[in-house]
Amino acid sequence: MSGVDQPVSTVRSVKQRAGIAFAIIAGAALLGGCARNAPQDTFQPAGENAQKIQNLQLPVFIVAGIVGLIVFGVVLFVVIRYKDRGQEMPKQTHGRPALEIALTILPAVILIAVGIPTVSTVFSLAKTGDTQCVINVTGQQWWWEYEYPVQDCGGVNIAEPIVTSGELVLPTKVHVLLRVTSNDVIHSYWIPKLNGKRDAVPGRISPLRMEADQPGIYAGQCTEFCGLSHARMRMDAVGLTPTDFGTWVANQLELAPKPTDATALAGEDTFRTQCSRCHQVNGLMEENADGTNSDTPVIAYPDLYEISGNAPNLTNLMTRTTFAGATWDLLTDECRKTLHDAPPDKFGALYLKGVTPECFNEAELREWIRNAPAKKPMYSSEAQKTENGGKYRGMPNLNLTDDQIDQIIAYLLERK
């Protein structure tokens, strides 16, 4: 007999172990929902519209949770209580009008109770009449561009349009309206702590209201599958007090000065010949035959080389904390942590310092410049360029030498 019992015991043991493993994984997943430092947690609103969503979703989830528990509980009770144990078939009845009417009316009442605040919230979120600042947002494979038109943005005068990428900088406690669109395929813009998501569709402009209550960095992610590097199409929204925002705007409007460092000066030449075909740097001038700058600005023509017709403007690259679709940090881990953990009253000053040499995460940028497609999958090899009608989808490998990379990094480090 023991020879027969042994395998059964083993099977039970395996089932028990699998059950324990499942319970541990499920428990860990459940506990994961309690994390307080989740950067894309929709249950931690940090803006007016996100709070409206929170005010709606919390009671809805509670109601749905209670209904779910009741349904699961009843199903579980019936499965256990009335399990087939060979007992006689119970008496079969047909029709319980009172019960049927109650089970029709109750869900209808619940749905109406959920529907009324939902519709009200939808209309409230769509409100744009009290806009104080407008920012145009354009998605492309695989990064976001932000364009600030000429306007009075919550009390800050923007005298010339500003173009930046990766980080959406906005004044706190100001009703900002994003006008979201796309240059190539459909993307979706989502900063969970500040508002819901909005699709970016070529040829359409979709408004999205956004406010940040406190200075800080709010993480986001493209939420519409948009190709090979969709997972690496991230974005950050950076809230600054109106005063700090004014400082940021003034800095963005300044033209890039001539480099002072010798390596950076050489980097300007390299940038002009290798990078400026696609990347715009405001203030970069064509070079005269004698090596001096002419009065003719260098104009990038990404429309000739990129399917999206666009490439990030690098005029103030080192005022940002990330690059390449906000996927990699320009700051070292320590400096990044210091910035992200900074209290609201100290955040602005820290952010406006930009990337300092001691905080510069050079390794990541170096890898990117050396071979961008190896770091972030893109359709940008020569063969794929042919397939794409003679244009790249993302940054190609420029086959730069180590010296050229050193020079470009030195040049970019001064772009603040």
Binding site: T128, G129, T131, V134, N136, T138, E145, E147, P149, V150, P161, I162, V163, L177, R179, T181, N183, V201, P202, G203, R204, I205, P207, Q280, P297, I299, Y301, P302, D303, S308, G309, N310
Partner: protein
């Protein structure tokens, strides 16, 4: 013994075989194989016909068989009259007329002729399939109904749909939705009534449906003859020298559509970025979701931009997008280009037109500023900035 008909086909078969041999030998080699094959094929067909005639005794009823003179299919009188010869004649007439007038008449004639031929053949065969007329009629139905019902249903539906479309195109644009809502409500009400009252007589249901169908088709025919309402064309044009777009009046020459008929697309029209209004000689711009009017608009580089131009003034006017000035070296010659895109002339007093374009280069790349203008109206200008 061989019957008269079988003798004819036997002789023709032999002649075809002989002709094939003679032709093959006289042409020689592989060059005459096509003719030989044709003649041999003919001989096979003729041999088959010979066999059929021999087996059926040329289809003659034997004078010796009393039963055959009474019951054989060949002994039966013709069953009624057939409309298919008349239909076929009309079809041939339509083909002849269509060949000289409209292709659609010709194609319809061919379709009707084929249908008449099939019907006629099946009817002729089925009427003589047996001595029992009821069985013959059933046989015809069994063969033709699977073809007739779907084809007639499709044709009926097409007639109703086409007629309804003529009605919708005749009615004023604002009245169209009302008619559509009423028609939809009537269909819903009818469906509800028929479902709720299954005891309704079949004749009543059929009658109501037939009257409704006839009403739609006859109304559609009347409105088709009267012609559809005036539908405003919305082509947009683009040229590198901008000649046509700079004119206050009608342009000349062929103008390619810049948006490849995208101006007609509902999806594009629902994605309007800027609305430009000409009123009392002043052009104003209103951007989607922004309060107030603007004298300068900012447009994203490389983005598709959809705008609507509304002409509230009395004169016909066009909206022109001045896309800067660029210098290009073509075959060693420096050429200055001033690309423009524009609407056609938009009628006055609330005429409107859609325009779609892309500005791929920033403003500072151009030696001339980007702008919206209305040719012929001084000062009607909205600046465009492309960062």
């Amino acid at each position: 013994m061989f019957t008269t008909g079988s003798k004819l086909f036997l002789g023709a078969t032999v002649m075809a075989v002989v002709a094939a041999v003679v032709y093959g030998l006289s042409t020689g080699g592989s060059s005459g194989w096509l003719g030989v094959m044709g003649l041999l094929s003919a001989s096979l067909v003729l041999a088959f016909l010979f066999g059929v005639n021999y087996y059926t005794h040329d289809g003659n009823v034997s004078a010796m068989s009393e039963n055959a003179t009474l019951d054989a299919p060949a002994a039966q009188p013709p069953v009624g009259r057939s409309m298919w010869p008349v239909v076929a004649a009309v079809a041939v007439g339509a083909i002849a007329v269509g060949a000289q007038s409209k292709p659609i008449v010709f194609k319809a004639g061919v379709v009707v002729l084929v249908a008449a031929a099939v019907e006629w053949m099946v009817q002729g065969w089925s009427e003589r399939a047996s001595a029992d007329p009821a069985y013959n009629a059933g046989l015809r139905k069994r063969i033709l109904h699977p073809l007739e019902f779907p084809v007639l249903a499709a044709a009926g539906l097409a007639a109703i749909i086409y007629s309804f479309s003529r009605i919708m195109l005749w009615i004023d644009k604002s009245g169209g939705p009302v008619v559509f809502i009423i028609a939809g409500a009537l269909v819903l009400f009818g469906g509800f009534l028929f479902a709720a009252k299954p005891s309704l007589k079949k004749g009543v249901v059929t009658g109501v449906c037939a009257i409704a169908a006839l009403g739609i088709v006859s109304t559609g025919a009347v409105m088709a003859v009267d012609g559809q309402r005036t539908i405003e064309e919305h082509p947009t044009t683009r040229s590198d020298n901008g000649a046509a777009c700079a004119l206050a009046g009608e342009g000349s020459g062929t103008q390619a559509e810049v948006d490849e008929k995208g101006s007609q697309a509902v999806a594009s029209k629902s994605g309007i970025a800027i609305t430009l209004v000409l009123e009392n000689g002043t052009l104003t711009a209103h951007e989607q979701a922004l309060p107030g009017t603007l004298k300068t608009v900012t447009i994203g580089r490389g983005n598709i931009v959809n705008v609507i131009f509304k002409n509230h003034d009395a004169e016909k006017r066009r909206l022109t997008v001045n896309m800067g000035e660029f210098t290009q070296v073509i075959n060693g010659t420096t050429v200055k280009q001033q690309p423009k895109a524009c609407t056609t002339l938009v009628r006055g007093k609330d005429g409107s037109q859609f325009l779609s374009f892309i500005l791929p280069k920033p403003s500072r790349a151009s030696t001339q500023p980007y702008s919206f203008t209305v040719p012929g109206v001084d000062g009607a200008e909205i600046g465009i900035t492309v960062p």
